[in-house]
Amino acid sequence: MRDALAYELVRIRTIRSTWWLTVGAVVVGVGISTLFSWGISADFADNGVNGPEPVGALVVTQVAATGQVPSIVCFILALVGVLAWGHEYRHGMIRSSLTALTSRPALWLAKFLVVGAWVAVVAFTTFLLAGLVGTLFLSDYLTVLDGQTWSVIGRQVLYGVLLTWLAMAFTLLTRSQAFALVMVFLWPLLVESLVKLLFLLVPQLRDDQEVLRFLPFTAGTKMVDVLSEPTSTFGDPLSPLGGTVVFGLTAVVLMVASFVSFRTRDA
């Protein structure tokens, strides 16, 4: 396992895409928060904290520290995961990898651990920097990095790691980097929207719309949602814990499937 971790650590650091995506995530994350913080700060300066259309402190802190819900930062960083497996198959690296490391479980685990850790560190750093920028703009009006913001940051980081693992598992299952890259964005943006539309248009499904809260990415957004007021873990809407369980289970199921596939299929 130690050898597999060493391999993955060198692999992730010696490819340019890792650094482009890392810098991109930080720039986008901090950039969006800067814009939000600057805009809200200007609004507060003109209208006061309790102006004609008051912005809740919670929303302020969240957008200042994490950009939006769920953060685009997580989606950018998930691409590091897509490429972690995608490069193996697109460039025929998998055979080199498996002649350097004979244990497939060790390589599989090392990839998920190293990429997960990388995403967690970069996401946390990005949100922390964003929070500090928010503090810089808004410290006269409210406390940005309070307990609740730390909680949202923690959940965003967890969301980022789970999303990355889900994307990695999907890439490994399909062995197609391009398909996985498209699906990471199409699934939440198009597929789940189509399912929701189907439930709206088909009369027989209309009464069962409450099950839609269990759609993986819909549930995932609840992990970091601070505006809803859930009444129970798996009620409608799902609580952050309920969202974490549903989204996390989706990731785990795909990861297990990818592990079985990786162990049994030809390299």
């Binding site: 050898d3 597999a4 060493a6 391999y7 650590l9 060198v10 692999r11 010696t14 490819i15 340019r16 895409s17 490069h87 460039h91 025929g92 690296m93 055979r95 080199s96 498996l98 002649t99 350097a100 490391l101 004979t102 244990s103 049994t264 299929r265 030809d266 390299a267």
Partner: protein, 308 residues
């Protein structure tokens, strides 16, 4: 020194047999050529040997399957792809990554880069590499752990004549150090110069395995060529003595399975004048084409097939 023992290797794709019950040995101190027509199952066999593909049989390296080798690059070096690296990862980083998985010091990375003539491009991205340079980087990876066994799939692909000669000398040198080298190639003339032993397969099945001389010696293209002003009389005498005679287009006779002394003595006994009496030794290509006839994926139109 490591003996490679492949036993009962088999692989099917959607019911179609790619490799069937294939067994052979690769001995230390020798270059073993792995030959077969396109689609014969050479690459599949190599992947099976290294546990990359699932299939029947097993391969051991000094008694141990590849999957049980700790730090495998220190025991077995493999080159299975033409460009087995990411195009934008620097050559040195590619080797550093593989070295990290096998606890090989970075100094060894620089050593093999120098040995393979890649020191100047060590910090370049291989997407700009020619096929030959890519092959050398792949070979550098195979040699990284200073392994006692090498499994190389078409390593001469893309190399220019100088590169092919360099490759031949390198592999012979490595075998001379006591390593086991299994190398597939479709360059039969190169293989004739490089290999000590051959494993020949066709349609996934073993056709021949053993020293290259024996393989060539077994060819029906080996014959005594004899030219005489009285071919009819000599043919009658040879056939009466139980030899098989065929007439070549230029009028000379080819006698299979006999040596020049026997033909000469027979001609003398019958008072037949000879103008030429020579041994025709089959080339590796002739022997290979003869033994693999019918096992290739395609038959060339207009080309003459060597009779089996």
């Amino acid at each position: 020194m490591a003996v490679i023992e492949a036993r009962g290797l088999g692989k099917t794709y959607s019911g179609k047999t790619a490799v069937a019950d294939l067994s052979f040995d690769v001995l230390p101190g020798s270059v073993t050529g792995f030959l077969g027509p396109n689609g014969a199952g050479k690459s599949t066999t190599m992947r099976l040997m290294l546990g990359l593909d699932n299939g029947a049989g097993n391969t051991t390296f000094d008694g141990k399957p590849f999957g049980e080798l700790g730090q495998p690059m220190r025991r077995v070096g493999a080159l299975l792809e033409a460009k087995p690296f990411h195009p934008t990862r620097k050559a040195r980083d590619h080797l550093r990554m593989l070295a990290a998985a096998n606890r090989i010091p970075t100094s060894r990375v620089d050593e093999v880069l120098g040995q393979l003539g890649l020191a100047e491009v060590a910090r370049k991205r291989p997407r700009t590499f020619s096929l030959g340079m890519g092959q050398r980087l792949g070979l550098a990876a195979a040699l990284l752990g200073d392994p006692d066994t090498l499994i190389l799939d078409e390593p001469a692909n893309g190399l220019d004549p100088q590169g092919i000669q360099w490759m031949r000398l390198l592999l012979q040198h490595l075998a001379g150090e006591g390593r086991s080298v299994l190398v597939s190639s479709h360059l039969l003339s190169e293989m004739a110069l490089m290999a000590d032993h051959l494993v020949v397969i066709g349609k996934g099945r073993l056709i021949a395995s053993g020293p290259i001389e024996e393989f060539v010696k077994g060819s029906r293209r080996n014959a005594v060529v004899v030219r005489t002003p009285d071919p009819g009389a000599l043919t009658t005498a040879l056939e009466a003595a139980g030899h098989t005679v065929s007439t070549d287009p230029d009028g000379s006779l080819s006698v299979a399975g006999v040596d020049t002394r026997t033909v000469g003595d027979l001609a003398f006994e019958h008072g037949i004048r000879l103008h030429e009496l020579t041994n025709r030794v089959a080339t590796l290509e002739e022997a290979f084409l003869e033994r693999t006839a019918g096992a290739e994926e395609y038959l060339a139109h207009g080309g003459e097939q060597v009779a089996p």
